[in-house]
């Protein structure tokens, strides 16, 4: 037995243990201190910790909601309304930011000097102005300059833009579920087609025009549902109606409130600059040798882009871009500044003011964002592991 070594190990272990115990102890003390204070504070105000208030009647209204909601619904429902609004603006923002960002990222690499410079200046300008100022600008300055309801800007008589918002036709579906099924079904078919095509390629080296067949499927199946599935679609166009001598409103259709427009505009224009930089870095990150090698084995230009450049560029682009999507979602909380009823305004604002339950409400709000972030970062780690170049 080597006692000398054992002793050394023990002392080493002790050396490691002390800072850890101190850290844990400190954490526990802080938590205890905060809990005791919170308890006495809440006791003084006559409230007790608990989430029972969620099932109480909220008795406040929300200006914009995707689901049925009014004052008689519960706080939990108000939370859901806020969450859905946050998700709505994030999805819209992500959609446009991606399109804009990819376009500008590619434009920055254009041979055309003017195009490249314009894209560069777009990035420099919109990246360096605080997002909140951009939101304020669109909401308080740009959209307020729109005409009044009476002389709205008219888009081909089906959609109207004025200072109260943007009125677009409403889709009125019959048998919507069949249409939805047809879309889901076409996605499933495309998935299997992709598998089959890969098998064919790996086994026999045969190329199947997956893209064209997919496009055909995704257009054809829903179209079929219209023709034989009994699905039909009509539009409810907003109509200008006169309420009194000077008051006009649009009836029917869907109204997109200016808060949503300005928030989505600012979010997508701001985030697009970061996505553009990611796209540029990704495309530049594929070494020239790869393209030359692909060209030398006789691939066409389209094939080089599809089979050699894009897979490698996407590996560089996707992780930071997902991060940007996450940032966009978190930044959508700035909605509170212009009174777009997102989760922060509805729940951490109005509901908190009414109930006074700061700890519960703030924790729920933060936990919501936290779980969103963590789930995306877990997905990202999985994706990175899957996409990592398996060299050795």
């Amino acid at each position: 037995m080597n006692f000398k070594n054992l002793k050394l190990n023990l002392s080493n272990k002790n050396k490691d243990l002390i800072p850890q115990i101190l850290t844990v102890l400190f954490l526990i003390l802080v938590v205890i201190y905060f809990t005791i204070n919170a308890q006495s504070n809440m006791g003084n105000r006559g409230i007790s910790f608990g989430f029972g208030f969620l099932s109480q009647e909220s008795s406040f209204d929300i200006t914009f909601s995707l689901i049925d909601y009014d004052g008689s619904h519960t706080y939990a429902r108000a939370f859901l309304v806020g969450l859905l609004n946050t998700i709505l603006v994030s999805v819209i923002g992500i959609f446009f930011a991606t399109i804009l960002g990819v376009t500008i990222g590619i434009a920055r690499l254009s041979q055309n000097y003017l195009v490249a410079k314009s894209a560069e200046w777009y990035v420099e300008i919109f990246r360096n102005i605080p997002l909140i100022l951009q939101i304020f600008f669109w909401y308080f300055a740009a959209l307020r300059a729109l005409p009044l309801t009476v002389d709205s800007i008219n888009f081909y008589d089906i959609s109207f833009l004025n200072v109260k918002g943007w009125y677009v036709p409403k889709f009125v579906w019959t048998n919507f579920s069949i249409f939805l099924y047809s879309i889901v079904f076409s996605f499933i078919l495309i998935y299997f087609l992709g598998k089959y095509a890969q098998k064919q390629r790996d086994k026999f080296g045969k190329q199947i025009p997956t893209l064209y067949i997919s496009i055909l499927l995704i257009i054809g199946l829903p179209l079929l549902s219209f023709l034989i599935g009994g699905v039909s679609l009509s539009f409810e166009i907003p109509v200008l109606t006169q309420l009194s001598k000077t008051v006009y409103v649009y009836r029917g259709g869907v109204s997109i409130i200016p808060e949503l427009i300005s928030l989505a505009l600012a979010l997508s224009m701001y985030t697009a600059t970061f996505i553009a930089e990611n796209v540029r870095a990704g495309i530049l990150g594929v070494s020239k040798g790869q393209k030359e090698a692909a060209a030398s084995i006789g691939l066409t230009k389209g094939q080089i882009l599809k089979l050699v450049v894009m897979p490698q560029a996407l590996r560089i682009i996707i992780p930071p871009t997902t991060n940007q999507y996450l940032n966009l979602t978190k930044n959508s909380s700035l909605a509170a500044a212009i009174a777009y009823p997102d989760i922060v305004l509805v729940f951490a604002g109005t509901a908190l003011m009414q109930t006074g339950r700061a700890i519960e409400i703030i924790s729920i709000t933060m936990l919501t964002y936290l779980s969103l972030s963590l789930s995306i970062s877990v997905f990202m780690n999985w994706y990175n592991k899957k996409m990592a170049i398996k060299e050795k």
Binding site: D16, P19, Q20, I21, T23, V24, L27, F34, N37, A38, S40, N41, M42, N44, S110, Q111, N112, Y113, L114, V115, S118, E124, I125, R127, N128, I129, P130, L131, I132, L133, Q134, F136, F137, F140, A141, A142, R144, A145, K330, N331, S333, L334, A336, A337, V344, A348, L352, A358, I359, I362, S363, T365, M366, Y369, L370, L372, S373, L374, S377
Partner: protein, 418 residues
């Protein structure tokens, strides 16, 4: 008919340039006439075609002068940079036409039609921007609601700061250390005392009155100084071998990174006081500073961790083989190299910090953007939102742009030294 007879070559270069140039010129004249004199010189054509004439003329003209290796240097340059294909020619024309159409109205609004003279909203008559608004409110935009007679204190504090920072660049290396230590540990307290007052015969100014651009600088500067060491320690903690420390750091970092700053500020405003003994009051500004610092420290930690991970293992092993302990190894060998590697990341975090400062409006502190919000709701100055936000945006843009340029230069400079 064979279209290739229209393809220019070296033989009839001059005639092609002449024809192409004329066509392009016609396109430009058309667009200039229609956007400046609102007369359509091609009005005799059908509506839609007349709208597209400048584009068609320009495209055809550019097609004619697209000659490979013409021998004319200028023409070759134009062709490679603006006119390499039909698509590129179209893009070039669209960009130029958009510039011709939209830049002059913008310039008019900004400068030529703008109002600079006067003191009230009624002096703005010419239809352009009303910079009188900015002129009248400038004092408030810079100092917030800070009393006019005491503003020299803010000026002194910032002037001293700039002088000290400037001095740290020029004094010999030996004294640099002391100036930096003074700047980091002593000066913030002096500066804060000077601005807040209360002692030494200075009038006390409560933090609610602070505001404007100076508050932006105060908040960013303090958060910047404080978040750096905390972030570094968190980064070291996350890479520590000791599980308790590692998981605490991971938990802390991910918690702050996972939530938006606005909820953190809400937390500091409404939830944090609940956790303190009854009756203790922590100043609003201090609470905000703590919140922003912790928030940015988490981001800083991830940046620094990136640098730590990028260092080759040999550096650690070499330091250990010299008999260095954990702290000496990190402070003398690892951190100086790691931090150098992540200068762009650090600069980005600082930029994000500066851009995040307007959010402090949620707790009722009004820096530049908040002051603009306040000023535009003043009954005497209604309808001045555009000017206010453009001004604030310009100020922030200049700050952020200069910072990002500086960081790029720093990066380049440090790269050559390696």
């Amino acid at each position: 008919m064979n279209l290739s007879i229209l393809k220019s070559d070296k033989k009839n270069l001059n005639s092609f340039i002449a024809i192409g140039g004329t066509l392009i010129l016609i396109g430009f004249i058309d667009i200039i006439f229609s956007s400046f004199f609102s007369t359509n010189i091609t009005a005799f054509l059908p509506d839609k075609i007349s709208y597209l004439t400048p584009l068609l003329f320009g495209l055809f003209g550019l097609y004619l002068i697209r000659i490979e290796f013409s021998g004319n240097k200028l023409l070759d340059k134009v062709n490679t940079n603006f006119n390499s294909s039909n698509f590129n020619a179209l893009l070039t024309l669209l960009v130029i036409f958009a510039l011709i159409k939209y830049i002059p109205p913008l310039l008019n609004w900004f400068v030529f039609d703008a109002n600079f003279a006067g003191n009230t909203k009624e002096d703005c008559t010419s239809g352009g921007a009303c910079w009188v608004f900015i002129k009248v409110w400038l004092n408030r935009f810079v100092y917030g609601l800070y009393p006019d007679t005491e503003q020299w204190r803010i000026n002194t504090a910032f002037l001293t700061l700039f002088l000290l920072v400037g001095a740290s660049f020029f004094v010999p290396q030996r004294y640099k250390k002391y100036i930096i230590i003074f700047l980091l540990f002593v000066y913030p307290i002096i500066g804060l005392k000077l601005i807040s007052g209360g002692d030494f015969g200075l009038k006390y100014v409560e933090t609610g009155a602070w505001g404007g651009l100076s508050l932006t600088f105060i908040v960013s500067a303090f958060a910047l100084i404080l978040c750096f060491p905390i972030g570094t320690i968190l980064a070291l903690g996350r890479r520590s071998k000791l599980p308790a420390i590692r998981y605490t750091s991971i938990g802390f970092i991910e918690l702050w990174r996972g939530v938006p700053l606005i909820t953190v500020l809400f937390m500091s405003a409404v939830m944090f006081p609940m956790f303190l003994p009854d009756g203790t009051y922590v100043d609003k500004l201090i609470r905000v500073l703590i919140a922003i610092t912790l928030f940015e420290a988490a981001y800083m930690a991830e940046v620094v961790r990136g640098g730590l991970q990028a260092l080759p293992k040999g550096q650690y092993e070499a330091a250990k083989s010299l008999g260095m302990g954990y702290w000496r190894m990190h402070f003398l060998i690892i951190l100086p190299q790691a931090l150098k590697l992540v200068i762009p990341g650090i600069a980005n975090t600082f930029l994000a910090l500066v851009k995040d400062t307007p959010l402090i409006f949620v707790v009722g502190l009004l820096e530049l953007a908040g002051m603009v919000n306040l000023a535009k709701t003043n009954p005497k100055w209604l309808g001045m939102a555009m000017e206010g936000y453009v001004f604030a945006g310009l100020v922030f843009w200049v700050i952020c742009y200069v910072m990002s340029r500086y960081s790029q230069n720093l990066e380049k400079k440090l790269k050559t030294e390696r």
